[in-house]
């Protein structure tokens, strides 16, 4: 650091110390924040400058707290950054009134750059926090979105909702195969009513899952094939071979009932059985 810069920096420190009360009050006004909170950051900043260090860890820690508490209070990250930038304006008023104009102005440029960095740091803190929330949610979604439900004795179903990518299919397949082991079920229904589009990758994942289930001695039925999906699959040229597919989960259940020799009698149940025979 050149001598000039050093002198300028010291001048800013002196000004910050001498006009602490005024600067903090003005800063709080501009930033629309409490003087106590900002005063603490101001103190931390002063002590770093005082000792001539370039380590702003304490200041960053306080700014991270500020960023978090303001984010919780519903402020946009830009508001928080702008609040930090407010210190420049507060200091500028002090610099303007200073008699030793040149040094103070030079120091102000240096200080301004420092505050820019610190302001952007609050932005980064905000983005990091967001990133973490998104990651957590993605994980939760992966867990949540793949339940294996028992429909009947020996019959399990996996209702798939949303986009099927490799990671999710892996989870679905593992869960389904494990459930087959745990329950000894002989029929598994994979329902894709909630899958918006079936492309070749999704189809391939489904086919692999069915083959894997078969290897374990279970028969798989794919249900929830809506007209637009059927159209697309045919046009793409995907063949499901001898895999049983049904339009609805009810049809699939009826098919599984028939294959396992269950007789359904009574009002609503009879209706299901009749539909199954028509297929």
């Amino acid at each position: 650091m050149s001598v000039h810069a050093d002198v300028a920096r010291r001048r800013v420190e002196e000004l910050l110390r001498a006009h602490e009360e005024q600067a903090v009050r003005r800063w709080a006004e501009i930033a629309k924040a409490s003087p106590e909170e900002l005063g603490e950051i101001y103190q931390a900043l002063l002590s770093v400058l005082d000792e001539g260090r370039d380590d702003f860890a304490d200041v960053r820690g306080l700014l991270a707290d500020l960023s978090r508490s303001r984010a919780r209070a519903g402020y946009a990250p830009a508001d928080t950054a702008r609040a930090v930038f407010g210190l420049k304006e507060a200091l500028y008023e002090v610099v303007e009134a200073d008699t030793d104009g040149v040094e103070a102005a030079r120091g102000f440029i240096w200080f301004s750059r420092l505050i820019d960095d610190l302001g952007l740091f609050t932005f980064e803190t905000y983005a990091d926090a967001r990133e973490k929330i998104i990651l957590d949610q993605a994980e939760q979604l992966l867990e949540l979105s793949t339940p294996v439900v028992k429909l009947w004795e020996n019959i399990v179903a996996v209702p798939l909702v949303g986009t099927l990518d490799s990671a999710r299919t892996q989870v679905v397949m593992e869960k389904l195969l494990q459930t087959l082991v745990d329950t000894g079920a002989e029929h598994a229904v994979i329902d894709i009513t909630g899958v918006p589009a079936v492309d070749t990758q999704v189809a391939q994942h489904l086919l692999k899952t069915v083959v894997a289930a078969r290897l374990m001695g279970a028969e798989c039925i794919i249900s929830g094939i809506r007209p637009q999906i059927a159209h697309t699959i045919v046009t793409l040229g995907i063949e499901f071979g001898d895999i049983v597919t049904k339009a609805s989960l009810a049809d699939a259940l009826a098919h599984a009932f028939r294959r396992s020799g269950f007789q359904v009698s009574g009002g609503g149940g009879a209706h299901v059985a009749i539909r199954a025979e028509r297929v």
Partner: protein, 145 residues
Amino acid sequence: MSDDRNMADDRNMADDQNMAIASSADVVGVRRLVRSVALEVGLSLVDQTKIVTAASELARNALVYAGGGDVRVETVRNGARRGLKLTVSDDGPGIPDIDQALSDGWTTGTGLGLGLGGSRRLVDEFDLASAPGKGTTVTVTKWAR
């Protein structure tokens, strides 16, 4: 005056949307984008699903075989008919034999080998430009009925 200009810019943005494909999450993004434009253009549910599926195949091809690429979605007009035009381009190794690449069951990867040929059947207009070392550009259009 500046307001007028902003409005014109907005209209351009709505007619022509670009997206980069760099991960499989982007393929999902492309699907979502194409679906929203297809809905706006007035494609039927079956045609929406077809163009979304074609977009998914082409975007994934760019990702798998070229490591990524760019997608451009435009709304086009032919008289009173509206349509969706999708361009997927990449700077990958290119396709040496286009006829072979379009034939069903042919793949150099691990998929079913139906994506490219299937996409051609899913859309109304299909154009593929590619040469070894020159990358690949696929342009498809689906018209509202």
